[in-house]
Amino acid sequence: MDFEALFKQFLSGDVAQQASILRSLTIFLPELVLSCSIVLMLVARLVSLDRIIPTHWFALLGGMASFVIVLFQFWEFGNSQTVPVEVFTGLAIHDEFSIFFRGFLTFFLVFVIALTVLTGIPDDEDAPDFYSLLCGAVIGMMLMSSANHLLMLFIGIEMASVPSYAMTGFLKGKRRSSEAALKFVVYGAGAAGVMLFGISLLTGILGTAQFSELAPRFQAVFASHAGMQDPATRCVALALLMIAVGFAFKLSLVPFHFWCPDAFHGAPAEVGGFLSVGSKAAAFALLVRLTTSLAGDGSGALSQLSLSCGLGLGLIAIVTTTFGNLAAYSQQNIKRMLAYSTIAHAGYMLMAVSALLVLQSVQTDLVFQGNHQENGPRAMEGLLYYLCVYLFMNLGAFAIVALIRNQTYSEEIDDYKGLAQQVPVLAICMAICMFSLVGIPPLGGFYGKAFIFASVYEATNVHWFMWVVLAAGGLNTVISLFYYLRVAKTMCMDTRPADAVPVSMAASSSPALYVMLVSGMVVFLGIIIDPLSKVALHAAHALF
């Protein structure tokens, strides 16, 4: 495409299903707003404006503005017959699914910024650095969720990861924090390298990096090939495995989870909360996008591919949940425990993806929802609902950890003894979050889990292995009860030792209100499930 043509496209018309650059930029507005607020924050420090206006206002307003813009885009999609378009010459895609995740991420960004303001990390000196890293990471995650090209996939992941490394090491004076950041970087760099190699292999064999092209090309290339004896098949398998390594690192799946407990232990709790929800959500969005476009319509050679990917992910999910739950059991530090719990929850969510792929691999009519076209979106709906509840319950837990740390300077579970007597608000909210993480009704976590298990159950019609996945999921729920209950027990049932540092927090103070809001949302999502699940299903439909 020569310059003239490019310029023409910039100004005027949309190619079929592709937005012009100008339109792409409008669609990209939420990310642009966030970028602008980063620039503003940095400039404000140059001219000492941050002495007058605290930096977090820039970040907070930027986050809110971009959330509002995403909401507007959502409204636009719902009202008019807007169709999904590829933006920036096909590098990214703009559909309900990406809107859902961009909304999710910006909403989450606002909550995280509010939390950091309440807990006072970072201090005024570091605030511009911290918030620009935070907003930068969110932009990366938003790119991940709307990626439509293998290159965009890699760029998104890196853009989300690099600020995360820096934020993990943000407590500069602390050895543990620096150590955590270093481990995170080394692991991340390694995984990224492997993933990039996998991407290049895949692109080489299929001759395209465009997501929408992957399935047809695969169909064409492998129409005649069969079996693992074929070198091309083996090459593709290797490529997928390498890409999977990159994802496993981002999602902290076993056996690429080692960074996670250390990073969470060393990082401030606020960053832990951010990483555990934000980067998980974005990585799942990307994983689902990549796998569904690989699986295509599940016909011919794609069926086999989709089934084996699904079963492989199912196996990883089983190992991950089991390992995460067993390891969490013996932790003494609450952040470490929550890190392992994050690993376990990534496993549960991976079960949804696995079920999705297994369901996509057949074209016959299955039960329950009537026709097979409904099964994929159902599994996705479960995943999206789970992520939304997970946002609140995990953020709530990390927020409480951060608030207690500010007063006791301790993150050991033993130091939480009898907090119910001093700060009943925090204890009750923590109990709500913990019970929801287990998945006890009528809290939100129950429905997330129930939706996911229902789709796994659906997938048992396709392959018997899904019964194993289902059983592992159920068993793990029981195992996880032990360590979540321990926290609730310690906080609510023990008596506070006389020499313990007292904690005080009025029920009407803003941190307490924040915590009540977040855990109130957990309860709310457990009672009123219809609206959010509708939105989730709507978003899920964009993919199929």
């Binding site: 329950f368 009704p441 032990f482 027990k489 609510c492 219809d530 299903l537």
Partner: protein, 562 residues
Amino acid sequence: MPSLLVIMIFLPAIAAVALLLLDPQATAVRARWVALLATVATFLVSWGVAAQFLALPQVSETARGPVHPQLVQRHTWLDLSQAGPHSPGVKLEFFLGLDGISLSLVLLTTILTISSVLVSWTAIKDRAAQFYACLLILETGLIGVFCSFDILLFYVFFEFTLIPLFFLVGIWGGPLRRYAAGKFFVYTLAGSLITLLGLVSLVVTTVQANPGLTTPFSIPDLANTLAEHPLTPTVQFTLFLMIAAGFMVKVPLFPFHTWLPLAHVEAPTAGSVLLAGVLLKLGTYGFLRMLLPMLPDACLHTGLPLIGAMASIGIIYGSFCALSQNDIKKLVAYSSVAHLGFCMLGLFALNIEGISGGVLQMINHGLSTGALFCIVGMFYERYHTRQLNELGGLATKLPLMGVAMVFTSFASIGLPGLNGFVGEFLCLAGMFRAGDGQGVIFSALGAMGVVLGAWYLLGVVQHAFFGPVHLPAEHHGPGHEPIADLNAREVAALAPLLGLCLILGLFPQPLLDLIRPDVEAVAKLYGNVRATNPNAFMHASLNNHASQKNLPSVALGSEVRP
């Protein structure tokens, strides 16, 4: 304006939230008055609901399915059919209602909660506001289970009761409370996860077979569909085992009962009262609501022998365990295992006598064991011991309590004239003519349990209340009042329970009439199932004839509901 039914369910929870939010540091005095007021109000509302229910015109037998709730409130909760024109209108609902069985259990719950507030009056001084809040939230959960007629809503309430009870046991319980709370939680959660899987499978398989069914999560609709198009026996068998798993733990049936003695003993008195009185009934109620109407074939061919055997072993085993206890609270706890065995024998007799007996026994056990736990709590509060060998001649010191204990023990044993007799008799009589001969064995074993029951309970009465006076030294610190007999509050806690024991013993007919239409509708299914097997049918009808001669007044009673 929400209906009385909805008010009844959520009133205690609202009171609990008010107690927690408005005044978390409330003194024990204020908290317990708020709790008493809330429970009494709920009780009154529940009578209002009962009056509404009784005023409804009778439903003819042909117009109703196996499960037929009235005073129905249905609101769509989650519409799963939004996806497209192809999928059926599957949806989850807030489906609240009442039938005779659930109404009687709701009334039991509201009465027992008042008693449990009264027995905690002075026993709970620590964090009283939170204690009563937990108690009230638990009441909401319990009433909710009995009023929900949507499978998922049922499960939600069923599981939700674990949370307040976990805190009740774990914070205000005995020395091993933390262990007991954890064990209880893990056991029941593990069981009920399998139940959830079973329930979902039940719904899915039914929809698969009957694509026209648009509300498969509604229990009445599901039961209607399954009554017309039963599932194949193998499917029923698998589903039965899955769904029964959680309920077996909850009841608890014999090999799954180990959580119960621990939880009962460690729980505070109010917790034990509600745990034994109502919580265990969630299991039997689950069997009655989910399994008997839905899977008749499996209930008859698998349930009857399996549950019958587990229940009769439980009766004998529980009784022997009770016999060997020194701790009176533990003894009462094991007696619950035995009594619930009678319930299950009755339910799985699968005929009118048996099922009515089972339901009656649920109420009876709630009343008499609730009262027993109250009494145990009362003398523990006075003497700080529950060991049989440290107590003797209590009746001379505390004559009123002696009267109450003797009365309650007789009710629990099943002395004619008191409620236990009617229930146990119907259960055993029902079982006697069930299941081609095996029923005779089960009911014979069960009857042995009655004797054993008399043995261990009379043993307690004789030893602790009427033996030579042998009481622990009154080593109270200064400021403690001298030990006195039951005061007005304690009498108020016990009197309703004992009064009901007597009334139900002398006039069980109104209660039997209340539940009869619902019981008949379920039992009718088994008439049909048996009819497919000519031999069994002959057998059953012969027995039916015989039993109508023998039991006309008790089981079948007047033909019209008042």
